[in-house]
């Protein structure tokens, strides 16, 4: 069992930035295109994923010593499905209008690569507190990505935010269509990679000055 040596804060930051589900790992892209056509949908999707990811990591970490490695996948599946049903039903009860739009994708969280991956590579090998931190970080990373993508898509595509009109005129309708989702994800991914490369170059330059 390879325990992590990172602190909890480092784990959270890792999930949020350096291993961001959407922009760095490029997994779980289906919801990032399907539900990000408005800020509201993106927000609820992100919150659901934070909840499921954290709780799944917590539970898997709790039972990690009892899981037979041969049947770990079905067990992860059942744990994830349990929490997804929970959030699915609560949303259907308390947030009806949003649920009508993104309900299908909430149920699809069961099959998210990112949630499976964290249970498999992290929670099953680590203690409870680091697993919660990791799940929280990954969830927040996903949440931030959804917020950024849906912010730009709703603003450009409808000239509105959270359903309230902000800009008048002819918006770029393509941004709320599926094609625009690919545009938005691709361009933002490129932007963040460029930002990363710049920051790395700056850090290197700073290190070079220090050593010199």
């Amino acid at each position: 069992m390879a325990h992590t040596h990172k602190t909890n804060w480092e784990l959270i930051k890792n999930g949020m930035f350096s291993e961001n589900t959407i922009f760095k790992m490029a997994i779980s892209l289906c919801p990032s295109i399907a539900v990000t056509n408005s800020l509201k949908n993106g927000f609820f999707m992100g919150v659901s994923v934070i909840f499921v990811q954290t709780m799944v990591n917590l539970t898997v970490s709790l039972i990690r010593n009892f899981i037979n490695p041969k049947i770990r996948i079905p067990i992860f599946m059942m744990v994830i499905a349990g929490y997804v049903s929970l959030i699915d039903m609560s949303m259907a009860a308390f947030a009806r209008p949003v649920y009508k739009q993104i309900g299908l994708y909430i149920q699809l969280i069961v099959a998210f690569a990112s949630i499976f991956a964290r249970a498999e590579v992290f929670a099953v090998k680590n203690k409870i507190i680091p697993s919660i931190a990791d799940g929280l970080g990954m969830g927040i990373g996903f949440f931030l990505a959804m917020i950024v993508i849906s912010f730009f898509r709703e603003l450009l595509g409808k000239g509105a935010l959270w359903g309230f009109p902000i800009v008048q005129g002819n918006p770029l309708l393509i941004m709320v269509l599926p094609a625009g989702g690919f545009f938005a994800v691709g361009l933002l991914m490129g932007f963040f990679n460029w930002l990363d490369a710049r920051m790395a170059a700056k850090r290197e330059a700073a290190a070079a000055i220090e050593t010199a």
Binding site: L172, L173, I174, M175
Partner: protein, 338 residues
Amino acid sequence: MATEAKTHPLVVSVSPHVRDEESIARIMWTVNFALLPAFLMSVYYFGPRAVYVTGLCILTAFLSEHIYQKALNKKITSNDGSAVLTGLLLGMNLPSSVPFYIPIVGSFVAVVITKMLFGGLGYNIFNPALIGRAFLLLTWPKLMTIWVEPTAKFIALDAKTTATPLGILKEEGVARLMEVFGDKMSLYSSLLMGNRAGSLGETSAIALLIGAAFLLYKKYITWHIPLSFIGTAAVIAWLFGGKEGFLTGDPIAHILSGGMILGAFFMATDYVTCPTIRKGQIIFGIGCGAITMLIRLKGGFPEGVMFAILLMNCFAPLIDRNVAPKQFGAVKKKEEKK
């Protein structure tokens, strides 16, 4: 090369030893030149707005390529005519009535997103001008489908909006088309001359054909794609295009209307985005024609040339890989075993 050979008769160098005069810039500017008659016809029919819209497209395409290459410290190739060609083709694909921000946004998307972000000329998967137009059509579907009746005069102040022949064909049928244009011969002649509503450069079939004949003569394009494209579309139009049943369609009206001539000769034959092998080009053309007619006859849009070419662009590498000729003398593995 020649002078070098004279002064140093025994120069040893790697091949190629004999070079042709052709270059990217020369080909691109020739294609631009071949589009000139169609552009002039669009100015004749749609007035000064044709110049403004096309000019804005060309200017934005040129500037965005130049600025992008300058900003990223790349080799500046904006003079090779390809950006101008993209702008010109995009302009010829827009209705004359569009507000002026549309050509600017479209050209920017065409050059920067479709071409430069993929690595510049030669690396783009899709035809830049068509992606620009697809972006605009999906973004502003209303503004992009306001067609203005050609006036043939510079003095007409209030433009009259109308439907394109294909739009009429789709919404109201052949009978209404005949009502608008009179009899069949006058329909064909106005389609041929370009005296109809439509995108700026697509209307005048005869001007486009003159340009295309020039390109064919210069061997910059070959007959494979245009012929298989238009041929397939004509056969499908004839088989299934008619309202009365099988074999009653009107292939000539289908070929001459919409953007088929412009698309088949100038857009589908783009070197970068079509297959390079002749056999593959024929498959490519057949696919374009079939998808075009599928959209025209059964789809939601009246015109399908743009989406057909873009869809087939995706398949170009796949087609090329599967029709690549075998090496001379190579034997299939199965036969070897025998």
